[in-house]
Each structure stands twice: as C-alpha cells, then as structure tokens.
Symmetry: C2
DNA sequence: ATATATAAAGACCTTTATATCCTTTATTGG
DNA sequence: CCAATAAAGGATATAAAGGTCTTTATATAT
C-alpha cells in the first residue's frame, strides 16, 4: 500500500495528463488518457466521472468531446484531488490509528508524525494541477510506468 | 485510508503495548492487549502470530503464557513492524503510483514527494519499540481511542 | 499424569477496493 | 432529423483487506 489509494493515484495522474494535454482548449478522450497514464480504461472512466461531478475537471459528450480542465482549476492544489477521492484522513488522521489525533490525548508517535503529515499536506496544498504542464510537455517528467 | 494499513496500525499499537507492559519479564495475554489498544481480539491474534513468527515479538503458550518483547528487540525500529506487515512500498514507492520511483524517469511529484517519504522513513527508522515505555507507563501518551 | 490456560493454525465470513461490461444520454457534424 | 461519437450511469465481477470462529498444540501447576 502506498500513501494514496490506487484510485487516487490514477486520478492524480489522469488530471495532470488532461491538464497539460488541453491547455490549448482541446479535449482528450478516455482511451488516450488511460493509455498514456497506463491505467485500466473503464476503471479510470469511473474515477473521472466522479472528479467531473465534483468539478475538478470538465467533460463534454459527443464527437470531439472528452475531458479538459478549465483555466481556474489549473490553480487548484493536488490536495483537492486526494481529498475528493481518499478523504482527509491522510492529512489529519493519527499515524497509528487512534480515532482522533489530538494534542490532549496523543499517541506515542504524535509529535513526529504530525510533522511528516503536515509536510505532506503542505506539499499537496502548494502544488497545483497546472504546475507541471511545461515539464510534461517537455517530457522531463512522466506519468506512466 | 491512512498512511499505514489498519493491520499495521494495530500491530504497532500492540507491540508498543506489549513492550511497556513486559519490561519486568512478565507476559501479557491477547485479551488484555486487544482491550487496551482497542482492537478486535481474534484479528489481533493473527497479527501477533505473524509478528511472532517473524521474531519481532516473542510468545509462550500455556498458563502464565502470553506475548512479550525480548530486550534486544526493544532497540528495533518501528519501521521493522511496518515493513513486516505492509512491506516497503510506503518507504520507497512512487507517490502517484508509477511502478518504479526513479531519478531517471521521475513523476512530477518525485522531488518533493521523496522528501516527505524520506522524512517518514527516517522517523520510523530512528524510533524504537522500547522508546516509549516510560511515557506509556506514566500515561502521558495513549494507545487507544 | 491430568486438567487448565494460553497461543498457533486454519477455515471461514464480510466489507471495501479494484475492475469490467453494457445500456443510456448528450453533443456534434452532415 | 440522423448517424456517429463520447461520456454517464448502472449492474456485476474479482481481489484484497479486515474480521470471526473452531480446533490443535504446548506449557504450567497440581
Ligand atoms: S494522536 Fe497519533 S498522530 Fe496525533
Ligand atoms: S517517481 Fe514518483 S515519487 Fe519518485
């Protein structure tokens, strides 16, 4: 198990793919996305459906339809994708599973775990959907394999 | 989903409980452990069986039997418990699910994610099983709720 | 030796995550 | 309007995680 669920991993990869692939105002279909991020097509369809309903990405049916990201969404943090799919637990939950992480009744790891968790949250909150577009176009970073 | 699996969370809590409860050379039974760390008893039994087979904790059958932690194991890092139960992925896997995290073919998050992951690994590698015994005895930290 | 306490082991069951497939609905170009 | 296209939605399948129960093995005390 990684830090995020598989669903979430696919979701992040797909959104970043869509974002850099549609800066020109075009749309991209599920087949291409799935192929390019190396994910099961129909499973990804479900994930994107969900993210679309939640407004993180946009979609259009019909010929020349597909998924895209509106300009304003390019500024949204990746944390929004994680929260939409996995919830907030990874950003606020106790590292060893206590039902509530708190200062008053802390688990042994609390002090240190909180730092890590906060660093993770900070990273995901200050990293935006559109931020990697150039690097993705250049090919200096990848979304598959 | 948290950073670790539920199995792993129970495992960590249980090992820390056993450690501080048996410094005097005694043993502690599964019923007490499960009650004190607030976990399902027979599920925890499976987990402890596994950790015992792997040598992270010790056990004895029969009257006055139970689980305990040998002195040398008190020095082992909590990372060993995580690795034994969840594997190493959380310490080395790609944050967005690429099959191999690498410098040569990095995902967009690689640079930042690696820092977080390393901080997590460092924390878990420098924190030992026995390290919280005093605090647990004092009651300044908790393993339940 | 026997009875008893306790963990080990294995067979199950339930829920959640992951994944596929098929039908419906919306959009577009002709 | 019509046919083609692509996402939405719903039903279902499969795998993995989470959890329970019963039986067996082993240690101890009497
Ligand atoms: S109580 Fe465990 S991380 Fe805060
Ligand atoms: S490649 Fe993704 S974290 Fe290293």
């Amino acid at each position: 198990m990684g830090v995020f669920s598989k669903t979430c991993e696919y979701g992040i990869r797909a959104v970043l793919y869509i974002a850099h692939r549609t800066i020109d105002g075009s749309r991209v279909g599920i087949k291409e996305i799935a192929a390019e991020i190396d994910s099961p097509e129909s499973f990804l369809a479900k994930i994107l459906q969900d993210l679309s309903r939640k407004g993180l990405i946009q979609s259009m049916k019909g010929p020349n339809g597909g998924f895209y990201v509106e300009a304003e969404n390019l500024q949204r943090p990746l944390a929004d994708i994680v929260t939409a799919i996995d919830g907030e637990e990874v950003f606020s939950g106790c590292g060893m599973g206590l039902t509530h992480c708190s200062e008053k009744n802390p688990c042994p790891l609390h002090k240190e775990f909180k730092k890590v968790r906060n660093q993770l949250a900070h990273m995901m909150n200050t990293t935006t959907i559109g931020q990697f577009n150039k690097e993705l176009l250049k090919g200096s970073v990848t979304l598959r394999k």
